[in-house]
């Protein structure tokens, strides 16, 4: 990182942002806080709580699918669990935990005392609590939770086919989560543009801050579109409008356009901050600066821009015009160019470095390996004939899990292991961290690699059982899920034990070289109130 050199002397921003406030203790410290570090920490806790629930849903699904013809779940309950698994993993785990880590790390990395709007930051976090709770609560209502998948296509979500309150609560929950994202987005963009320490020019910012800036810009452009679509869906159900109902002159395909105009960029919302984390972790454990910093920044912005031009590739099977198919197919393949720039830059970063295979580094390398597989199957799916053939099969499930599990989750784990000592001030057990990595890496491939085969053989997704010829691949996938479950349990225990009785972490537990040390490693672990005694000046 070029933002490494720090001269600690009083700068023009040295005044405290919360003058005269008395530090609170106990539960009130958390409930009433507007401190970005506490809010970031709460984001991470809440996201992991939802992750545990969504992960448990996944385990129940894999149990149901372990053999053909099992009756662990009733078919309609399977649909609800499957829908909530996707929704929670996307909207209540991956997006919030990225926001949580960014909340903690970004202000320190740019040399700020807090976010630009600390109270708004608290609002963003607290909106997530009712959002997730509403959706979870719907499981226990008459009719159960939403069962139309995380994509919730009409007419399946119309009152006629989903009569219970599940879909209504799903919509309301997403509305609140979307509002949380938007408010957070405003805060991040203003913070990064306005609160950088003296001398911290845009092209001196650590790569993670750049990816957060691009991600939050995507959120600000895309999320309001989803909010609009959700409002239309809600009024269709509640007040008899017909935006997505063919009988009323509406068009169900319009939902797909609006949904994917948000949800394809949402893939980058979930992956770009992970790429930023990887771009910091690889240099830290290679002893070299990031290769091609400016190219990486441009590639990040390029992915963000092209990400808005490819939504139609989710809709090849809807019968959209062949000219649109050609355009979306081409644009989807073009996105491999900036992604390829990133991957080559990461490889060049570790090339010839003195590598230290600590847990964050293992997860970062695992990210690269798995994300490449997800990226390559993404190129296949950009090809219309192939996409139409495997549409709605397990091939798509395999692809999206290689991107979001192999990509986002591996990066999140890398980031958590990397910054946990900074956040908690405690060291974790490195041995169990590595065990967690290997169980995750092996379990992940066991679970999702066979899904490619299932999909090519024609096994449809989102169905609670299957024909006997798919049994062998499902046996393997369910065994892999069990391995993942063991790995995640070890992770949880390791983290909790480190919080309880871990050794104290020094300011820089990873011994960064001068060229890779970013500002958060120059302050104590955890950082002091308002981060810096005096605002650093970057040379």
């Amino acid at each position: 990182m070029e933002a490494g050199t720090v001269v600690a002397r009083p700068g023009p921003y040295a005044e405290a942002v919360h003058p005269g406030t008395t530090p609170r203790t106990g539960i009130l410290k958390w409930l009433l806080t507007s401190d970005h570090k506490l809010i970031g920490t709460m984001y991470i806790w809440l996201a992991f709580f939802f992750f545990a629930i969504a992960g448990a849903f996944a385990m129940v699904m894999r149990t149901q699918l372990a053999a053909p013809g099992l009756h662990v779940l009733r078919p309609e309950v399977y649909n609800q669990i499957m829908s909530l698994h996707g929704t929670f993993m996307v909207f209540f785990f991956t997006i919030p935990i990225m926001a949580g880590i960014a909340n903690y790390v970004v202000p320190i990395q740019i040399g700020a005392r807090d976010m630009a709007f600390p109270r708004l930051n608290a609002v963003s976090f607290w909106l997530l609590v009712p959002a997730g709770s509403l959706m979870l609560a719907s499981l226990f209502l008459q009719g159960g939770a939403a069962a139309a998948g995380w994509t919730s296509y009409p007419p399946l979500t119309n009152r006629q086919y989903s009569p219970g309150p599940g879909v209504d609560l799903w919509i309301l929950g997403l509305h609140l989560a979307g509002a949380s994202s938007i408010l957070g987005g405003i805060n991040f963009v203003v913070t990064i543009l306005n609160l950088r320490a003296p001398g911290m020019k845009m092209f001196k910012m650590p790569m993670f801050c750049w990816t957060v800036l691009v991600t939050q810009t995507i959120i600000l452009i895309a999320t309001p579109i989803l909010a609009g679509a959700l409002t239309m869906a809600l009024t269709d159900r509640m007040f008899g409008t017909g935006f997505f109902q063919a009988v009323a002159g509406g068009d169900p395909v319009l939902w797909q356009h609006l949904f994917w105009f948000y949800s394809h960029p949402a893939v980058y919302i979930m992956v770009l901050p992970g790429m930023g984390m990887i771009s910091q972790i690889l240099p830290a454990f290679s002893g070299k600066h990031l290769f091609g910093y400016k190219g990486m920044v441009l590639a990040t912005a390029g992915i963000g821009f092209i990400g808005f031009l490819v939504w139609g590739h989710h809709m090849f099977a809807t019968g959209i015009d062949y000219r649109l198919r050609q355009f979306f197919s081409f644009a989807s393949m073009v996105i491999a160019v900036p992604t390829g720039i990133k991957i080559w830059s990461w490889l060049a970063t570790i090339w010839g470095g003195s590598l230290r295979f600590r847990t964050p580094m293992l997860f970062a390398l695992g990210f690269i390996a798995l994300f490449i597989i997800g990226g390559i199957t993404g190129i296949w799916l950009a090809l219309v004939p192939f996409d139409v053939q495997v549409h709605d099969t397990y091939f798509v499930v395999a692809h999206l899990h290689y991107v979001l599990f192999g990509g986002s989750l591996m990066a999140i784990m890398a980031g958590i292991y990397y910054w946990l000592p900074k956040i908690s001030g405690k060291l974790y057990n490195e041995f169990w961290g590595k065990v967690h990595f290997w169980l995750t890496f092996i379990g992940m491939n066991l679970t999702f690699m066979p899904m490619h085969m299932m999909g090519m053989l024609g096994m449809p997704r989102r169905i609670y059982t299957y024909r006997p010829e798919f049994a062998i691949w499902n046996h393997i996938a369910s065994a892999g899920a069990a391995v993942l479950g063991v790995g995640m349990t070890i992770f949880a225990l390791n983290m909790l034990l480190s919080l309880w009785r871990g050794r104290r972490a020094p300011a820089d537990p990873w011994n960064h070289s001068d060229e890779t040390r970013t500002l958060e490693w120059t302050v104590s672990s955890p950082p002091p109130a308002e981060n810096f005694h005096t605002i650093p000046v970057i040379r």
Partner: protein
């Protein structure tokens, strides 16, 4: 460069958010206009060609007076021990009218058989206007030992079927579902 105040920048971004939210609603008319202007999507195509939208669907279109005879055939390939025949050998119908008939299947062996039916429609130039609405060929079928079953077929000819076509043939070929698996032998031969 002087930075704008946090409030000003935050408010400006808030305006962008509101614009994007409005854009979602603007898409409702824009979507239709775009499709119509550039002829993208089925809705646009129908209007571009100056046809009524109802002509797209054979079941809702006007019923024409010209007669077309549809012959029904079927053959069991690859030694499958199944006999099957249509409820009628042929049917006279009109474009726009839907037809409901059935096929009777009999398993001649003492084992279960799993099979799939592949359909074929001639003449080729009219085949795309022959719309199968319900058919046993849409999914794999199974018959128990010696079981006999009647399965429905529901089809309609589109009003857009070329004039001059007076006869059509709908035929089925049955194939075993698992080609590598040994087929059961018909009971009579086993005896």
């Amino acid at each position: 460069m002087k930075r704008p105040s946090n409030t000003l920048l935050g408010a400006a971004i808030g305006v962008l958010v509101l614009l994007m939210f409005s854009f979602a609603y603007a898409n409702v008319p824009l979507f239709k206009l775009f499709c119509e202007r550039f002829g993208l999507g089925g809705q646009g195509k129908a209007r571009m060609k100056g046809e009524a939208a109802s002509a797209m669907s054979s079941t809702t279109g006007p019923i024409e007076s010209r007669n077309i005879t549809v012959s029904l055939m079927g053959v069991s390939a690859s030694g499958l021990p199944i006999r099957f025949r249509p409820s009628v050998p042929s049917v006279v119908t009109n474009p726009g009218r839907s037809v409901h008939l059935s096929y009777v299947f009999t398993n001649m062996s003492d084992d279960s058989v799993h099979f799939r039916a592949i359909h074929s429609i001639v003449p080729e130039q009219a085949a795309r206007e022959f719309q199968l609405i319900q058919c046993f060929c849409f999914e794999d079928q199974s018959l128990g030992p010696r079981e006999s079953r009647t399965l429905p077929v529901y089809f309609a000819l589109s009003p857009r079927i070329p004039t001059g076509i007076e006869e059509m043939t709908l035929s089925y070929t049955l194939f075993p579902r698992d080609p590598k698996k040994k087929l059961p032998v018909p009971a009579q031969e086993a005896n």
